[in-house]
Symmetry: D2
């Protein structure tokens, strides 16, 4: 059945599968200490224009957020994030599981403003008894956000400034980074992110990998005994080279960006199809996540022919649904969708 | 270079790669709720002769041990294991990270005896202040052990009895289960394990999968809200079907057992090569792990041509080294090794 | 210097000190298994009209909240509370330290409404992916609240109903329970609390004890191996009888309620003094916490003669300050305060 | 009934009670920031001859061990201790509860030798895959030990050396420090301990306080944001001055040492009584813990008239029992015991 349900429902980009096949019988050292991981790291450093970057490959988004945040925070510290942030809502309390509080602030579309972070920190340090409270230690942002929002460069610069002011780290969740970068609605580049954050991850799972995320520490600031902490989290890959091969492929000949570009091109076509038919959008998202308002009957009709996500009930008659495009979305999918509409 | 360094240095068994290629462009529901996972689970239930089995696919051994033990234990409980057990030595404290004590007992070759477990528990409950101590809640065993030991059926039955006596769970780490089952030195079958343990895992990573372990709860006893706890551990796979496809392949036409058989056949040949040349063995291991005593000079010579593990210094002149065979070990590897010796 | 800074700045009520002196040389069994603890528990059961109550004495409020909430929750569960709740703000993340998320909801004066709890739970269970989220497992309320709010009986009954509906526990933090009960602005009795909650604590530290809180499980529902979990939290008292003696004294001849009554009488006089002088109140609190609006100059003047708490800046010229009365507040303190004003 | 059951079964030394009475109605600032705490700290610094000492008062032994060890260790680190160490056996896994492994080594009477610590560390760092293991980060010792053992100065110096060699902290549990110092069988002084350890605690609970332990960081090395971590552990005292008053009293006119001296004098008399009657000792303990071998019948007889601890069954006819003396043991107790024997 036709599917626009998310960006992780197919296998891997064919180039990745090819490469895994080609290297399959080679024997390498384990735990990510092989030449493929090294090559992938070097390509990522180049793509980020960040020679100090220290990179570690992990297996999934929640795992990466948990490991990164737990290892970057002091035990007395919590993480500031948008109330809609993935770590606050959809990771089953994985951050609290490691002992840290999530300090959630309200936002419009998941975009955290430097001003609200500053206000929070100012209030915190003004409170005379703040040593009885959780210290803000890190600011977590997502790009693109869970609601299709994207940051502008000046917003990242302002967040960087407030983090410096209050001695916090800035960490960017890049589960959907390729679309964030290639959507055309943000002036932020990969090297901006490497320059302005302390750490971020380049999402592979939602960008054509079988699985895997590249966690990048940008300032020669990989936490102490990081490998041991990864192991302790149960997050280390025995056959680490599989992650290296995948990211090496994604960062060869710009495949990573090409996948983002393709997903955005397909997203543009999906949006146009709906707009042309007079549909309204629930959120004006510039990314590969498209939030459409449909009436109940249309929702039922569509769901017989195409898989998508329920997003939110709007009123008794209308519902917001979500369509997502990715590397695996084809022109033919678009044509079939057109027929359905 | 020729390599006998471990059983996870190549990619995946060709049949697994084929299957991943064949299904690559299919879009499925995520998080392991797809038809491949279902099919794999059913095949495992059949292979275990255990229709009550509840199965969850995880990504690696330490992760699986951590999730299984943490979710099976009450917060007041610790896990009894051999002092050489993987969880006690080589998982960076992943069990303690989740708040549980490892109660380590000394053994010869990693084989935990029911009698010593009983003695420990008897002493514990005889202590009037035992509610100021960590309760023994689970017995962790490995088959084959980290030192090449294997259990006999009567030993598992005795461990089952002591677990029942003291209200503990019995959990078996099957990282090297295929070789444990196929080595010829144990009368234990997969269905014995399913019958006698409360949970165990079928290792994929060291048996031809790219990655993945099948955690089997044998008595309709999957811990409460297990999916949420997996998520909280950062251990959930978005593209869960990849695990399903791999285990479905491993349990089609007996591939899992065939891989164990092949590894053991190759191990027999390696052992014979060394024995014929007059080498002594450091441990008389019946499994695919072969522990050979070499003098320092021989060790140097060998290490120029073949990759193996350093195991332990014996005296100033002699060292124990470890050779491991697996699905990827070929007759040609054996021939080359013969030439080297 | 005259002090109205809080309700825990003096030692203990003289009757408690007397009793500690009288029993000082007796030797008893440790860890709270002595006759004084038994006697105190029985008196509390009577005062609560709750013969099923299981009681454990702990040493402080944060410790009691942490132990109670951690032991009552499943690992997948978090605790719903008012955003201003003590556990959310002033306990340095002690709840998250034990792995649980605090699910904070906005309120006016710290009073959590059943309707907002229901709305939260309804939304949670309506979300199809709620098994990727933290389950609401317990509702935490304070009586009186951190802002001087008090619950009415119908509000507790409604909270009980929503807890039953969604299979959650109801837990009441009684750090300032004596004043909550004796302030005259609430129809809630101690036996109502025992009947309507699953657990609550009777605060001793802020009500005349040297230290100590009585944690009451009201429904024969003390968590499994509770003593071991208390020990594991580092919260067990070797000389447990000291807690027993203190609570036995507090629940002899109604001393606990008398202390609340006295603190409220003194609070009434303080309020009247300020009101008579034309001061406005920042919060209309019916309890022993009095929130007064003063201008900056008056604040400076007062702070030279009397100790109180800074509460919040209102505007450039005005500040809210807090005065608190307790068992140790005397008529003479009131007279001196009158002179100052 | 006559009691030699332990050193924490009476209330507090009369001088402490007097002082608590005398200061009872004073109002002071909370959380240990009062003048009594300051005075006590200064007296402890003098007694330790350690002007850099940073001191924090906690409420009990397990709590102090948990807070000290958790805050001194990196998340990747565990604590080396004697297998019989209190943290390994009788604290319900409080160390593991905070995520750290206890690395237990066998000893004779609880005395950890520098040589065995060195051997452990050497083996650890020699293992090429030690970053998959728990790093030894701290050495925990008790003085006197749980089995009545005491350290000699050269033993502490040697432990200090091995800690420096392997970058570990040395921490001493002083639950029974007064007797350790005053027993006459050790040349270790309080200032030796302050000089040779990184942290230690001066036990109050077992030395005449109502409750309380003074945790001393000896090298200006109190862990970062220590107050916040104490709060997070639920270990902060609201009326912190009570701890200050108690320790100020204990360190006025040498009361702490006098209590140790008295307990040892009484212990000498108890030992002599038993020895004179021909009893043998199970352990030759030089401290206030006396381990006596009795036959079953004698044990029954004694237990009708005097409270003591069961220690261990020796054979079918003989049992080891433990008698403990303390500040509250009187000459009259000794006389009564003599009559019984």
């Amino acid at each position: 059945m036709l599917s626009f349900v998310n960006d992780y429902s197919a296998g891997a980009h064919p180039k990745i599968m090819e490469r895994l096949m080609a290297t399959n019988l080679e024997k390498t050292v384990g735990y990510g200490e092989d030449q493929y991981c090294e090559a992938a790291k070097e390509k990522i450093r180049l793509a980020c224009e960040c020679q100090d970057a220290q990179i570690y490959f992990l297996q999934g988004g929640t795992q990466t957020n948990q490991v990164a945040i737990d290892t970057m925070l002091d035990p007395t510290e919590g993480v500031i994030c948008a109330a809609t942030g993935h770590i606050n809502v959809h990771e089953a309390g994985a951050i609290e599981f490691t002992g840290h509080k999530v300090l959630a602030l309200p936002t419009d579309n998941g975009i955290l403003k430097a001003s609200q972070v500053r206000e929070f920190c100012k209030g915190f340090y003004a409170d005379e008894s703040h040593d009885h409270e959780v210290f803000p230690g890190l600011v977590y942002i997502t790009h693109a956000t869970e609601l299709g929002g994207v940051y502008q460069k000046h917003e990242l610069e302002e967040l960087r400034a407030v983090c410096d002011e209050y001695n916090m780290s800035l960490y960017l969740d890049g589960a959907r980074l390729a679309c964030g970068l290639m959507c055309g609605a943000s002036d932020v580049t990969l090297s901006d992110i490497a320059r302005l954050t302390d750490a971020f991850y380049i999402g592979g799972t939602k960008c054509g990998a079988l699985y895997g995320e590249a966690l990048v520490f940008t300032k020669n600031n990989m936490p102490k005994r990081f490998v041991t902490r990864v192991k302790q989290h149960g997050a280390m890959s025995a056959k680490g080279r599989l992650l290296g091969i995948q990211f090496d492929t994604l960062f060869t000949d710009g495949l990573y960006f090409e996948i983002g570009r393709h997903a955005m091109e397909m997203a543009g076509k999906v949006k146009k199809l709906f707009a042309d038919k007079g549909y309204k959008f629930f959120i004006e998202s510039p990314t590969n996540q498209i939030y459409i308002i449909v009436d109940k009957q249309k929702k039922e009709e569509l769901s017989e022919k195409v898989v998508f996500s329920f997003w939110e009930n709007i009123d008794d008659d209308h519902t917001a649904i979500r369509f997502v495009t990715d590397w695996a979305t084809t022109e033919r999918d678009i044509e079939e969708l057109e027929k359905l509409l």
